[in-house]
């Protein structure tokens, strides 16, 4: 496993309640692993804790990366080990050009422009149109997200955490993002995909279902999806989602039976 979450708990600021409660699962290297669950289930909190963001301190458990405990390491140290996070709503730092921003995390500064260009192409942004633009209000939310993704890709990390990359995007653009995730995977990077949209998760190999801060299941994504739908009582949605793009995961009868057994 590239990433191991072992009995991790994350309390609220006032320590009165657990946002994440004794969660354990692993993420295989080279996979796309989705963490799904309804709003408020602690997905983003867990993502920030994996990245080591200050206000998301784990009170119990361990986070292991490549077999080593990184629970006490800073954000910078984790990034240097090969973990990065593409933010749900990345900041607009209007004095930085796209070129400067995307190149921030590139360690080997040789052929910098080439590397930045390549990263922009992966996220389907025309380099000539974007390299000299600034990270300011003139960029749409979708453009800003792509630039964030390009900056993450340019680092060549081993693990990219994508925090709700689909939020605020049109359906057509979401489709494009799914293709980008597959391209990232082809570049031997592992993706930990945080989403509450199940259609986004369909690109994933594996999934983890969080429910009110607890871990319900980690398995192949369709199985996790099925469990999620059962839990949420979404039979029709489950049929649509699991038959999406013709990739039949479970037949209709199976889904009917599973739901019947659950009394849904």
């Amino acid at each position: 496993m590239l990433l191991e979450i072992e009995h991790v708990s994350i309390p609220t600021d006032d320590q009165k309640r657990m946002i994440i409660d004794d969660v354990s699962f692993g993420v295989k290297e080279g996979s796309i692993h989705a963490i799904i669950g309804p709003n408020g289930s602690g997905k983003s909190t867990l993502a920030y804790a994996i990245m080591g963001i200050e206000n998301y301190i784990i009170s119990n458990g361990k986070i292991k990366f490549d077999g080593n405990d990184i629970s006490q390491k800073s954000v910078t140290e984790r990034a240097k080990l090969g973990i990065t996070l593409a933010w749900q709503e990345p900041a607009r730092i209007d004095g930085l050009s796209v070129f400067q921003y995307v190149s921030l995390g590139i360690k080997d500064r040789k052929n910098l422009k080439e590397k930045v260009t390549e990263a922009l192409e992966i996220v389907n942004l025309e380099p000539n149109l974007y390299l000299n633009r600034f990270i300011d209000e003139s960029l749409s939310g979708g453009e800003r997200k792509r630039i964030e993704l390009a900056a993450s890709i340019a680092m060549k990390p081993r693990l990219i955490i994508l925090d709700e990359p689909d939020s605020g995007l049109d359906v057509i653009i979401v489709e494009d993002f799914l293709n980008i995730f597959n391209r990232i995977k082809e570049l031997d990077m592992t993706i930990l995909l945080i989403t509450h949209r199940e259609d986004i998760g369909m690109v994933a190999d594996y999934g983890t279902l969080l429910w009110r801060g607890t871990h319900l299941l980690t398995d192949e994504f369709p199985k996790v999806m099925l469990q999620y739908c059962k839990k949420a009582g979404l039979k029709d949605f489950c049929k649509r989602a699991l038959f999406k793009n013709g990739s039949k995961c479970f037949d209709d009868d199976y889904i009917e039976r599973i739901f019947r057994e659950e009394g849904v």
């Binding site: 800073s74 954000v75 990034a79 240097k80 933010w87 730092i93 004095g95 400067q100 995390g105 993450s152």
Partner: protein, 319 residues
């Protein structure tokens, strides 16, 4: 044209601003130029429609710059007020007249790379006529010893329907003691954009800037943007003033300052006043540190907190 052998130290001192100052030396580039080496005029280039005259006085010069009616140039008029000495007094009295319907840029460089007890004073008058596009940018470098006392004062009149852009930048090196006072009077339908950036880097650095816009003409508009950072005991005071004294005028003052390290002080004092009931004047100010989320975003790309802060300062004070 007067050929110039300009001190290399001054030329090199501005490279951090990504300025190739050689382009602006007499005999190079296309723009009009006036170069001052301490208190001696070392070069003047004139171009069609622009009259440049300099007269040496005891501690400096009186410079007259007249842009004739209808003149339009892409190349900036370059003014270089360099001092390659540690001490001394340099006093500049520029009088700039931009006649109606002209469109020009003026780029002034004030570089004192060896300053250690040096005094630079400016007392400028700008008259911008009607229907002009006038841009004035002043870039300063005061060396690395916090050894300059710099006190420019400028009065600027901006005529009807003119657009005036004022940029002041002091972000490289250590500023020393800086006191700047700018008064801009905006006439009917004029547009003023004034941006000032400064960075104090140690306890010897004290920067005080007062930038005032008086909206005196109907429908005049202005934005003052003041951006500053103070580090390791540095002190910055930004005093942004806008008065709305005419019908339907509109002004805004924005001030962003970042404080880094113990003993550093940033202060913002926006002063806004409206004396016409149809005018509108506003201000916003933020002081302190960069948002933690911004720092986290950059740290997640492998930058240390210090590196992330430096990147954000550079971005904020971008030239």
């Amino acid at each position: 044209m007067v050929n110039s052998q300009y001190p290399e130290d001054i030329l090199q001192s501005l490279e951090d601003y990504n300025i190739d100052i050689r382009e602006f030396l007499p005999g190079h580039g296309k723009g009009a130029k006036l170069l001052l080496d301490f208190n001696k005029i070392s070069g003047i280039d004139q171009v069609e429609g622009i009259i440049l005259k300099g007269r040496e006085i005891e501690n400096g010069i009186i410079a007259d710059i007249i842009i004739k009616e209808g003149t339009s140039h892409e190349e900036p008029i370059h003014l270089c007020f360099g001092v390659n000495k540690q001490t001394g007094i340099q006093e500049i009295f520029p009088r700039i007249i931009c006649e109606d319907n002209a469109s020009v840029k003026v780029q002034a460089h004030c570089s004192f790379p060896k300053a250690d007890g040096l005094i630079h004073k400016m007392f400028g008058h700008f008259y911008i006529g009607k229907n002009c596009n006038f841009e004035y940018s002043e870039t300063h470098y005061h060396g690395e010893k916090s050894g300059a006392l710099v006190a420019p004062v400028a009065y600027m009149y901006v005529g009807e329907n003119s657009v005036f852009e004022n940029n002041f930048t002091l972000t490289k090196g250590t500023p020393g003691k800086v006191k700047i006072m700018i008064d801009i009077y905006a006439m009917k339908n004029s547009v003023i954009r004034s941006t000032l950036k400064a960075f104090g880097k140690n306890k010897e650095d004290s920067i005080r800037i007062r930038d005032s816009v008086f909206l005196e003409g109907e429908n005049a508009r202005s934005v003052i943007k003041m951006k500053a950072a103070a580090r390791d005991g540095g002190e910055v005071l930004m005093y942004g003033v806008t008065e709305g004294n005419a019908p339907h005028c509109n002004g805004h003052v924005e001030c962003n300052e970042i404080v880094l390290g113990k003993g550093s002080i940033c202060r913002a004092r926006p002063f806004i006043r409206a004396t016409d009931p149809t005018s509108s004047v506003s201000h916003e100010a933020s002081l302190g540190r960069f948002p933690q989320k911004w720092l986290d975003e950059l740290r997640a790309k492998g930058l240390s907190e210090q590196e992330a802060t430096d990147v954000l300062i550079q971005a904020m004070l971008r030239d």
